[in-house]
């Protein structure tokens, strides 16, 4: 436990919040309970969209089944698909109606795991819905309690917050994994003397390759291919956002900014490469952009929490406005304008 605390302190910023802890916990838990409800309502919407696949999936004759659906070909594809879709629907409805009831959340989690495994059993594992599967599995750990019980028990509120935070951390972790691998690849490609992730043409090459693979068209892709240097800054910024994402999980003041920035990253990926991670955008919106842990600080104080860049950023956003203010006051004073 001490080891975990040490890791947490290492990743977190040093400044604690000013709000009285128990009041802060109650406020955050109310917000988290609402967001869990929103999560399952949004899940119900996504499940509704998956319904159109039901008929087509029943008619498939061949699968390359992933482990959660290895049993489907054995019982027969139509029967297996029907069973999975029924679980998906029932779980989604039950969890949307009773998000505080653990069996409903278990059914929703298993339904999502099975459905997305089935969807990925045709030659390629799709990653756009991994976040939903993982978050729904982690939210099973939320307490078996409704709003009334949460209001009464500090322990239950803390357990809800822990479960909610774990889902947030999981989401941010996958971005960090992606970013850290990319950073390692930058070093490898630099070593090999190739165009690497920090080179001006990196984004243009990625875009061209992807559009050639799918034959898709994108709104901004051709622009960045023709003006590759303009892609450098967004690509480097994305690398930073991703690498430090897990650290942000420990810095509540940055949750909302990172939620917005990573959503913007998905917009950019869609506009340039026509890769749509729309379920992930919705999920980031609910769990990170609307984070219940936001301390409500001003932007100068948040800037100081930025991983790696905190000292520079706080100096820039803290000192620059102060110096400007002093300069204005000085000018006003020298002309005696401030006295009027």
């Amino acid at each position: 436990m001490r080891g975990l605390r040490r890791i947490r302190r290492l990743l977190a910023a040093g400044v604690p919040g000013r709000e009285e802890p128990l009041r802060a916990q109650r406020r955050a838990a109310r917000s988290a309970a609402l967001l869990v409800r929103v999560f399952y309502a949004a899940n119900l919407y996504l499940v509704f969209r998956h319904l159109r696949l039901w008929g087509g999936l029943r008619e498939r004759e061949v699968l390359d089944p992933l482990w959660p659906v290895a049993w489907v070909p054995k019982v027969g594809i139509p029967e297996g698909v029907d069973a999975l879709m029924t679980l998906l629907l029932a779980g989604a409805f039950a969890a949307a109606l009773l998000p505080g009831w653990r069996p409903a959340r278990i059914a929703a989690g298993l339904g999502l795991l099975g459905f997305h495994a089935l969807e990925s059993s045709f030659g390629k594992i799709n990653h756009a819905s991994h976040g939903w599967v993982l978050a729904s599995l982690l939210l099973i750990a939320a307490p078996d309690a409704g709003l009334r019980e949460l209001e009464r028990s500090r322990l239950l509120r803390q357990r809800l917050l822990n479960a909610f935070w774990s889902a947030q951390a999981m989401l941010l972790l996958v971005y960090s994994m992606s970013g850290i691998w990319k950073a390692l690849a930058v070093v490898t490609q630099m070593w090999r003397g190739e165009v690497h992730g920090l080179a001006p043409t990196a984004l243009a090459l990625h875009i061209a390759h992807r559009l050639l693979q799918t034959g898709d068209e994108s709104l901004l892709g051709p622009f960045f291919i023709e003006h590759p240097a303009l892609g450098w800054a967004p690509f480097a910024a994305t690398l930073y956002l991703q690498v430090v994402a897990i650290q942000v999980a420990f810095r509540p003041s940055l949750h909302r900014s990172w939620g917005a920035a990573l959503i913007a990253f998905h917009f950019m990926v869609y506009l340039t490469m026509a890769v749509s991670f729309h379920p992930q955008v919705l999920l980031m919106g609910i769990l990170v952009l609307a984070s219940p842990f936001d301390p409500g600080w001003g932007w100068r104080r948040r800037a100081a929490d930025l991983p790696l860049l905190g000292a520079v950023a706080s100096r820039l956003v803290g000192e620059a406005p102060r110096q400007a203010q002093q300069a204005v006051e000085g000018a006003l004073g020298s002309h005696r304008l401030g006295d009027r």
Partner: protein
């Protein structure tokens, strides 16, 4: 307090385990992952000079095409055209071919033909090719630097 500690340990183990397994699977599993554990090595390397497999359709619905048609250009003619899942499956077919794993290739072909070519366009002929190219040059219409024709196949629809 005990349940809080238990949960904190569980979360720490879950996150660390996920990251660790993601890395291990990348190097030890054929597809590089075990759903839903992934290494998240998406768009990892900048594609300088690409060598990748593709499928070219030679005939469709029994009629020979005037020239080979790349899979991603066959939109509206076969379900897999423009689908990244189909393109990734073609990479797996190519790797099975290169490895001489005929059983795996047959399995993947069956999946590819049934899911991504479909009965509606059968009978058809296609070939597995390997292209070498620079993405930006090819995107600008300057074609590929080199190609190898690997294998040709025929798909008659149904349980062929």
């Amino acid at each position: 307090m005990r349940s809080y500690r238990r949960h904190a340990c569980f979360v720490a183990a879950f996150l660390a385990g996920y990251a660790l397994l993601g890395g291990v699977f990348r190097f030890t599993r054929p597809g590089g992952e075990v759903f839903p554990v992934s290494s998240w090595t998406l768009f990892l390397y900048v594609p300088n000079r690409v060598s990748e497999y593709d499928v070219e359709l030679l005939s469709l619905a029994g009629e020979r095409l005037p020239e080979p048609l790349a899979l991603h250009r066959a939109r509206g003619r076969v379900p897999g055209a423009g689908d990244i899942s189909a393109a990734q499956l073609v990479q797996r077919m190519g790797r099975a071919h290169e490895a001489g794993d005929e059983a795996r290739l047959a399995e993947l072909r069956r999946l590819f033909e049934r899911r991504w070519l479909g009965d509606a366009s059968a009978p058809l002929e296609y070939r597995l090719v390997r292209h070498h190219y620079s993405p930006i040059e090819r995107w600008r219409g300057r074609g590929v630097a080199g190609s190898e024709r690997l294998r040709s196949f025929r798909f008659d629809g149904g349980e062929s």
